[in-house]
Every structure is written in structure tokens, then in C-alpha cells.
Amino acid sequence: RLSSALQGVFRNLRGYGRLTERNVQDALREVRRALLEADVNYEVARDFIARVREACLGEAVLSSVTPGQQIVKRIHDELVRLLGGSRRDFTLSPAPAGVLLLGLHGAGKTTTAAKLARTWSREGRRVLLAACDLRRPAAVEQLRALAARVGVDAIGPEPGDTVAGAGARALETARREGYGVVLYDSGGRFQVDPDLVAELHDLHRTVAPANTVLVLDAATGREAVAVARTFHESVGLTGLVLTKLDGDARGGAALSVHAATGCPILRVGTGEKPEDLEPFHPDRIAARILG
């Protein structure tokens, strides 16, 4: 645990009054260790420590009787500030507002599409779920089943459609039939697969969605930075959804992705059911990352 690790660093200094810069360095090494164990990318952790170093060398920390607590507080506050800073939300107008979900295989895109559809449908919006995963067996069936479960319309591809073509068909239907929101569920892909990145790029260009959202598993390791950065460069991300926070992953990927893209985390997935979608609380994820 970080707080006990820091207590360990400062235990031997009690009674010597003021801390030295060296003591703070030792403490920051423990913080770096905690971040790395929380799956924060090495460079992101290093840059983050550099940012907070100044704050940790201030008078309040150096002459405190509980310097460990002071440092944790400053780290925590900076994490919250970073993660919660850009408090944007989805852009749901003008209609039909497009929301394109993308990400690695199995991240939770299809499930998240249904969760978002449920949320917005309960707000009185007319939502269309658009299946744009033409690769995974039974992907369209999965989306249709979820759509039925949350009481929302779904549209699938026609034989011969390309991924972009399926998206265009959905957008055309959304406009013609007056839907308020159209959610495009895309297939899983690696950011290092040029064909799949090109496919995503085509889909994005075709449907020109107001929202381009990376769906990321909270347990993702240090590759999260590369994943987010490449997708951001290719299609421009407007937000993130972090899934599977009902597990016990520390969630350092959240910090890594934020560092790489500056995008807001819009929602978090906390389970498999359609209602398991919550607003993002930066203080909770900060506490989790710090362990």
C-alpha cells in the first residue's frame, strides 16, 4: 500500500525536523513504484512524478510532521485534477448524433453500446444501434439481442456491405427515420494492424460522428498509451469509456490514456448488465491507482 510504503520511508526521520530533498526523492520513488504496479506506463509515471516533484518540495511538506500524508495528498490531488480536468460529455445534438465506439478485441464495445443506448433511450431519445462489426461470428446477433433487451432499435449490415457501407446505411436510416442518436459498434482491432486502422478510418470518414470513443478495459497494461495514441492520431478521439471496473485492476491505463490523448473519461463500465454504466469519478480512480 502506498501510504504504508511512504510511512516506511519517513519512519527513520522522525524527530529530525525538516525533510531534505533527498527524503522527498525516496518518497517519490515509492510513488513511482505504486504507479508502475498500477499499470501506469513508464514514461507517463516518470512525467507525472516530475510534475508533482515541485509541489512535494514545498514548505508544507518539508516541515510537516506527517510528510507521507502530505505527499499522498498532493499526488492524489494532481491525479484528480488531470483525470477530471476536462469535464466534457457526449455531444448529442444535432440529430442524428453519431457515437462511434472503437477499441481492442473484447474491451466491451458491443456491451457498452447497449448500455449507452439504454441510458439515452431512458432520457427520451430515439436511439439506433448500428452493427458495424462484420468479422466476429455472431457479433450482429449479439448487438441485436442486447438491443431487444434494452428496448432500442438495431440495424445490421446487408450482404456485400463493407464496414463503411454498413455505417453509411445506418446513418441514412437514422436521418430518414428521425433518430436522435446513432451508435456505431465497430469490431475489435489492434492499432498495429494497418488494414484494420484503415477500415476504422474509412468508417469514421463516412459517418463523420460527433463522438469518437475509445472503449478500454481497465485492466489494460502499459500498451494502453500506444493504443490510445495511434487511434487518436488516426481518427481523433473525443472521449473514453473505461470498462470492467468491477474487477480489481488498479486502472493505471486511465492515466496513461489521458496523458496520450487529453481525452475525458466519459463513463465507466461496472458489470455485464445494461444498467452497469456509471459516471466517471476522478477521485475514485485516483484512489484506486494509488492503491
Partner: protein, 273 residues
């Protein structure tokens, strides 16, 4: 500078960054770095070889062999949501048939939307018999029926696909025990193998996943999936050392042939490159 007493600091730091970036645990990296600093390793190449040796030693040697496995046998595939279980079961059916076995797939994911349909589609493509239940039905009943079908249809390798579940959810982990008991009831000695699917892109949480699943349904192997991405699955060393679970296969794509026996040496070399 390359003097006596260990490789230079730049080499050590470069290795440290490479290993951390590959999701090797910070504890193991520290241990390796300490070793390198004490060792009389000479230069960058010596350091790399020393690290490669320690890492390779952390991975238990897999001993599973389709030809030698009992007839009939049952293999249970478990893991957290989205880790690649269903796709891996399809690939294993392909591998089993190629190795002269007669597989039968059990779609014991009775929870997730289109969970059984996904496996059924694969079974059709592979021309492999499959036993499924209805969504919302009892997974243990599917498993029991599938074991009976193995006997009735003269198959000799039952491959059981289970629903994804968070290792932190007690009732779901209990259900897995129930599946094991149902299997054992209908097929003596089953499950002969219980393998966990681990997504190569996961960070340190993969270790917790393996630990928890291992406690509930003792794991005899692991399949590292999605290794065709950029992630390096460095967590496998901790799992190997702490739990002794061998990695039997690597998933290298979305197709039925995208499965290869796990090559420990190649894995370590690729990680250090």
C-alpha cells in the same frame, strides 16, 4: 563504461524500461536489475543473455500432448470477460482434430447475449459437433449433457467454453466449481485440463486473475491470447514463478488456425528485442 563489476548503467536502464514496458512486474524487474548490478556480466550482450536466462527459467515447461492425453478427456477453458475463451475453444477443436483427436464443443456460456451462438457458428465452420443450452439455462446441465454426448457420439475430447467472469465475483467463481463437479460426475477424471485464457494486453491484473481462478479450479495450463498485437504479456513470468502454471498455447489471430504451441524461448527473445 564497460568495466568489471557489471554492465553499464545505460544498458541496465534500457533493459529496465523494456521489461516494464512489456508488463513484466516491477518486483521482478527490480530483482533482475539487482542481479545485473552484482553479476560480472560483461557489456550489453552479456546483460541481455543473463536476463533471458532468468526469464526463461521462470516459465514452466508445458507437458500437454493431445496424443498422450486420456481418452476421453475434458478440457475446461476459463477466464475473465473478453479474454478470448470462445475463440480459443474453436482453435483448440481445430488443433485437437489435427492431432488425431475427435473433439466435441460444449457451449456452457448460458449467460452472455449470443454466447452460445458464437461457439455454434464456429463449430459449424469446423465441422465439429457442439452441445449448447438456451441462454439463461443452467451451465452445469449443458456440461453434463455434453459429457454424455461425448460417449454417445464416440468423441474423445470435450472442450468446454465457459462464460466470462470477474475473479472478484464470488458467486460466479462458485459456479465454476459446480461446472467441474458436473463434469466429474459424468466423465471420470474430468476435467483433465483446466486452462485460463489470458489476454496479452493485460497488465499486472492478469496475475491476480490467474491466482484467483487457480484457487477455485486448479489450473493445469494457460493460453495467452491476442499475442499478435503489440502487447508482450510480461505478466506470464510472475504467473509461472508464483503459480507454476505452464503456458500451453498462444493465440495469434482471430481465425481457427491462429493458435501455436507456446514457444518459451521465442517469447523471451521477442520481449527483449
Amino acid at each position: 563504461a564497460l568495466g568489471r563489476g557489471g554492465p553499464d548503467e545505460d544498458t541496465v536502464e534500457a533493459l529496465e524500461v523494456a521489461l516494464l514496458g512489456a508488463d513484466v512486474s516491477a518486483v521482478l524487474v527490480d530483482e533482475l536489475v539487482d542481479r545485473l548490478r552484482d553479476e560480472r556480466t560483461r557489456g550489453a550482450e552479456g546483460a541481455r543473455a543473463a536476463v533471458a536466462d532468468v526469464l526463461a527459467a521462470a516459465l514452466p515447461e508445458p507437458s500437454f500432448d493431445w496424443a498422450a492425453a486420456p481418452r476421453p478427456m475434458a478440457l475446461l477453458v476459463v477466464g475473465v470477460n473478453g479474454s478470448g475463451k470462445t475463440t480459443t475453444c474453436a482453435k483448440l477443436a481445430r488443433a485437437a482434430a489435427a492431432a488425431g483427436r475427435r473433439p466435441l464443443l460444449a457451449a456452457a456460456d448460458t449467460y452472455r447475449a449470443a454466447g452460445a451462438e458464437q461457439l455454434a457458428l464456429w463449430a459449424e465452420r469446423l465441422d465439429c459437433p457442439v452441445v449448447a443450452g438456451r441462454t439463461g439455462g443452467d451451465a452445469a446441465a449443458v456440461v453434463f449433457d455434453a459429457a454424455a454426448a461425448v460417449e454417445a457420439r464416440d468423441r474423445d475430447a470435450l472442450l468446454v467454453d465457459t462464460a466470462g467472469r470477474m475473479h472478484t465475483r464470488e458467486p460466479l467463481m462458485r459456479e465454476l466449481e459446480k461446472l467441474q463437479r458436473a463434469l466429474a460426475k459424468r466423465m471420470p477424471g474430468a476435467p483433465h485440463e483446466t486452462w485460463i485464457a489470458l489476454d496479452a494486453a493485460m497488465g499486472q491484473n492478469a496475475i491476480a486473475q490467474a491466482r484467483f481462478f487457480h484457487r477455485v479450479t486448479p489450473l493445469t495450463g494457460a493460453v495467452v491470447t491476442k499475442l499478435d498485437g503489440s502487447a508482450r504479456a510480461g505478466f506470464l513470468f510472475s504467473i509461472g514463478r508464483e503459480l507454476g502454471i505452464p503456458v500451453c498455447y498462444a493465440g495469434l489471430g482471430e481465425g481457427p488456425d491462429d493458435l501455436a504451441p507456446f514457444d518459451r524461448t521465442a517469447f523471451v527473445q521477442a520481449l527483449l528485442d
